[in-house]
Subunit: 235 residues, 2 copies
């Protein structure tokens, strides 16, 4: 169950430099924050932060771990519409007077900061750096969604999966083990594939020596192999 860890303190917050408050000078922070009261919560893997259709009272910043935003069809089929990384703001549909359009779930054990919506809106309106960070967050979110629509709509199944692995392992050295906190089912739900398709291609690529994996980690052994999978469809 979600556990309240106490009040947030923007001045000592270890992820403030990645948050919408990053560009507020430290000496101005007490004045900007004023009586804005945040709280810190921890949740364990698979716990729900809010559900599609809920009326929002807060927005959230992720402090630790990863979150998945999902939408579902009446029969239970699920699509992951976004993965939230630390420092990111999420759950802001209330700022457009709307209920939450998706469900937010902990993909790992997580720590979040709850920001009261009305106080946040006051801070945004009065502080250009917060306003700019939030605007850029929305526009970047739209760009990420457009990229994902291209992946889901135009790429073939193996191309989609290979692109995902290459992107996930980007910025890590070839051969380095890295965390992959998505299960096979979650990878399928992110990429619009069946779990059988995901498993079949991963097995194929392990046999060919492109990747190695465990239940929760992956490493690229031969990224050229995966790049060829992607390029093979682009000729």
């Amino acid at each position: 169950m979600a556990k309240l860890q106490g009040k947030g303190n923007c001045q000592t917050c270890p992820i403030r430099y990645r948050s919408i408050f990053a560009d507020i000078p430290e000496d101005k922070l007490p004045e900007v924050i004023g009586d804005f009261r945040t709280s810190i919560l921890t949740l364990t893997h698979n716990e729900v932060i809010y559900s599609e259709g809920d009326a929002p009272t807060h927005t959230y910043t992720l402090r630790k771990g990863l979150i998945k935003l999902t939408k579902s069809l009446p029969d239970g089929r699920i699509q992951i519409v976004r993965i939230i990384g630390h420092g990111e703001l999420f759950g802001f549909d209330g700022l457009a007077n709307e209920n939450h359009n998706h469900t937010a779930l902990a993909l790992t054990d997580i720590e979040i900061c709850k920001l009261p919506m009305s106080g946040l809106e006051r801070i945004r309106i009065n502080n250009p750096s917060v306003d700019k960070a939030m605007m850029q967050g929305w526009i970047q979110g739209l760009r990420a969604a457009e990229n994902m629509l291209l992946d889901l709509g135009a790429k073939k199944a193996p191309e989609r999966l290979a692109s995902f692995l290459l992107k996930w392992c980007k910025d890590t050295e070839q051969g380095q083990w890295i965390d992959l906190p998505l299960s096979r089912t979650e990878i399928a739900e992110l990429l619009g594939l069946t779990v059988e398709t995901v498993s079949r291609f991963l097995s194929d690529w392990k046999r060919k020596g492109y990747i190695e994996d465990t239940r929760s980690t992956v490493r690229l052994v031969d990224s050229d192999g995966l790049n060829q999978v992607v390029d093979g469809y682009s000729k």
Copy 2:
């Protein structure tokens, strides 16, 4: 080719009530707009407004017609990521210091208003109603993208096509002919399907008496039939 029709005039603009300037009181408009100079352009079907990767200088409001925003893969496969309707703001990646993430093309003959980016940003910062309208536009854009990701990722081909037709014909009476300015190819590019799949299901549904269509119009004859296609997958 794009034709300049002259300077824009927010005070006499027929679509202002649908634009980001909708909530500025008429008597305050001259003061808010100040020396902000817009221009009106007309473009014909399939003309490009801007291309993916272009450095933005303006944002745009659609005054007449429809626009498609597309992304493409190196081999030319195309995904339509959004359809823009009249009154909507588009082409705002420059506000996040980014180049355009998609290409914008006229889906019909169109009329657009070009808004210089720096002037618009000044107006937004100084006018809460413009700021609010733009914020709501971005959040609504994210919600629409999430809905589209659910369609592309989780729905089967016929379910996706039937949902699209039902949504497109929403708010029109059953049996009423309405414009469908997307070609079969464009419907395929929007729904992540092949054009053969789109044509096959449309033919099937015409034979079954669910729909009738011409090259550029469509009407629902039996929307229950299409609803059954959607519901049949949700059991």
